[in-house]
């Protein structure tokens, strides 16, 4: 099933917050070019896991390797600069700026790296970066509002904008934290199509998702987390029949 070598390799990651064992000895690997979903009941440690990947949280133990190089302990922006992008659960955009500016920021970050001092360059309307941003926004279906302020967008459109912000950097690995949460079915399907479309480019994706419809229409592999531990990893059909997974969800339901 693997399309190639693992792009992301996580070994034995643990993280404890006070008395709570958020992650315990998590192993995880994603093959280049695949779509990998992480599912699990609430409080399973899915978001914490993504936060570990991008350096927002430093794990107590374990290693994180991206494209063959260790990235654990690096500053978030350095990790991102190596080719990872993340879509957050609540859309993180630049609310007071236009859609074009939103995407242009990420394009500049891709072009110039973590810091630039290009004060003599003007980002005018015909600037290549602006053009690129415009094209991408059109592709995600926001081509009509290029100059609108991002804060006026609907929640679904904000998420699409955030996706555009991530995509413009052409990341090798895209992390998506519930990309369709709170969306209407129609919007969800559009997002699934969009994600599939990007997959054509061979971009690797890790998706956290509650919506099983989304999970099973997208994912090539699924990892199930419960109480900070990996309880199963495999192809969708394998997971579907796994009794431990059922138990975890039902147990979670009992606990709740």
């Amino acid at each position: 099933m693997n399309k190639g070598e693992p792009l992301l390799e996580v070994r034995g990651v643990s993280k404890r917050f006070g008395g709570l064992q958020a992650l315990k000895d998590v192993d995880f690997s994603v093959a280049e070019g695949s779509i990998h979903a992480i599912i699990g009941p609430n409080g399973a440690g899915k978001s914490t896991f993504l936060n570990v990947l991008i350096g927002l949280i430093e794990p107590d133990q374990g290693s994180v390797t991206f494209a063959g190089e260790p990235i654990r302990g690096l500053k978030p922006y350095k990790i991102i600069q190596r080719g990872i992008a993340r879509v957050f659960q609540t859309p993180q955009i630049f609310p007071g700026m236009s859609l074009l500016q939103n995407v242009a920021i990420a394009a500049v970050a891709k072009r110039d790296g973590q810091f630039n001092t290009k004060v003599l360059e003007s980002l005018g309307p015909r600037h290549p970066i602006v053009d690129e941003a415009g094209d991408l926004l059109a592709r995600v279906g926001l081509g009509d509002y290029l100059h609108a302020a991002a804060e006026h967008l609907s929640r679904g459109d904000k998420r699409r904008l955030e996706l555009a912000v991530c995509l413009v950097a052409h990341p090798r690995l895209l992390l998506l934290d519930e990309p369709t949460a709170g969306m209407a079915r129609h919007d969800t399907n559009r997002t699934i199509d969009l994600l599939k479309e990007i997959s054509e480019t061979g971009m690797t994706k890790v998706v956290i998702e509650h919506d099983m419809h989304v999970v099973f229409s997208l994912a090539e592999r699924i990892t199930v987390l419960a109480q900070g531990q990996v309880i199963a990893t495999g192809r969708p059909e394998e997971i579907r029949g796994n009794p431990r997974v059922q138990e975890a969800y039902l147990g979670g339901a009992h606990a709740a």
Partner: protein, 348 residues
């Protein structure tokens, strides 16, 4: 990303230059005088630099007097002990200011919001207290740094209109530079800090480096203003380091209109004009009136004078951008909540 930036820019900067350069002429028509014109231009430089920090990145410094004052003292000491020529003073002041800005920035930019504000205030107040007490052998303490020097630039005496034009050139170049920063990729990043620093960090950007850069640039504007102040008048008051000086530049920025570049400069002109010309008409209670004016502006013109101007333009059908707030000081989620709160509150 305007329509035809280059032409628009030429017009804007040209217009600005024309207004500034002719100030000694027109300020007399409205009851002003030359030294006031120079002071307005100097404070405009200060306020302009302040907008690069507050307006672009949203970081509210309550301690910019630290740079204004340190530069003034450094310049004063150079003029007094080294040479009456302002060039050595210029370079030494620049160097000292860079070091001071770097050190203070290093320590204060680790925090944001009010904690950043208070840290900057604390550093400025420490310098102020030091100038008044342990350093008074050098600073002259409360009496201020006095000197007999008549500053000159390459043999030209720096007084009267000479200082004005020097300050005016600095202001025009400063304005041009600030506009260029605003539309450059670099400036885009600065403004993104204010909008959502977290998103910026997770877009692969070294946010801290940009904050530091903005802080240093802003501090250099403040230092330039402090330098010019002493060139104008070879005297340094401890007031230059006092928190009220920091407060004044905040007030100027807000009543003018934050993040508009031109607004804070208008604010500076208004404040100084009020303090020195209108004051004489009102007499003893002028500060009461200023306080009232100030409160009214904050209540009814949240975007300052520039906002007022835009509202008038909209009213007569010329367009103009709508602005809700002076400073979007919180990240988006918080602001959304605040907006919701307003919507839910009855009777508003």
């Amino acid at each position: 990303m305007g329509r035809s930036p280059f032409a628009a820019d030429l017009i804007a900067v040209g217009l600005f230059a024309a207004v500034v350069l002719t100030m000694p002429v027109w300020i007399v028509w409205i009851g002003g005088y030359e030294a006031l014109a120079t002071k307005i231009v100097i404070w405009a430089v200060f306020a302009l630099g302040f907008d690069i920090l507050l307006g672009f990145t949203g970081y509210l410094s309550f301690g910019h007097a630290a740079f204004f004052g340190t530069a003034a003292y450094t310049t004063g000491l150079c003029l007094k002990h080294l040479s009456a020529d302002i060039l050595p003073a210029f370079f030494i002041t620049g160097g000292v200011s860079l070091v001071v800005a770097f050190v203070i920035g290093l320590l204060t930019l680790r925090r944001s919001g009010i904690y950043f504000s208070i840290l900057t205030l604390a550093f400025a107040e420490m310098l102020h207290a030091a100038a008044l007490s342990i350093l008074q052998a050098y600073t002259g303490g409360d009496n201020g740094l006095t000197m007999h020097t008549k500053p000159e630039l390459l043999g030209i005496r720096m007084e009267g209109l000479n200082v004005f034009y020097l300050a005016a050139i600095v202001a025009i170049l400063g304005f041009f530079a600030a506009r260029q920063i605003k539309r450059s990729p670099f400036g885009l990043m600065l403004r993104a800090i204010k909008e959502n620093a977290m998103r910026l960090e997770y877009t692969g950007v070294n946010v801290w480096a940009y904050k530091m850069a903005a802080y240093m640039i802003s501090a250099m504007y403040a230092s330039l203003a402090g330098f010019l102040m002493v060139v104008l008048e070879p005297y340094v008051a401890t007031k230059f380091l006092h928190w009220s000086t920091s407060g004044e530049v905040v007030i100027m920025s807000v009543i003018g209109g934050v993040n508009t570049l031109i607004g804070p400069m208008i604010g500076a002109a208004f404040m100084l004009y009020f303090e020195n010309v209108i004051q004489a008409f009102i007499g003893e209670q002028w500060r009461l009136v200023l306080g009232l004016v100030f409160v009214l502006i904050v209540i009814f013109l949240p975007g300052g004078f520039v906002d007022g101007f835009n509202r008038i333009r909209r009213a007569v059908g010329l367009g103009g951008r709508e602005r809700h707030h002076n400073v979007p000081d919180a990240p988006a989620p918080v602001r959304e909540n605040r907006g919701d709160r307003a919507a839910r509150q009855p009777g508003e």
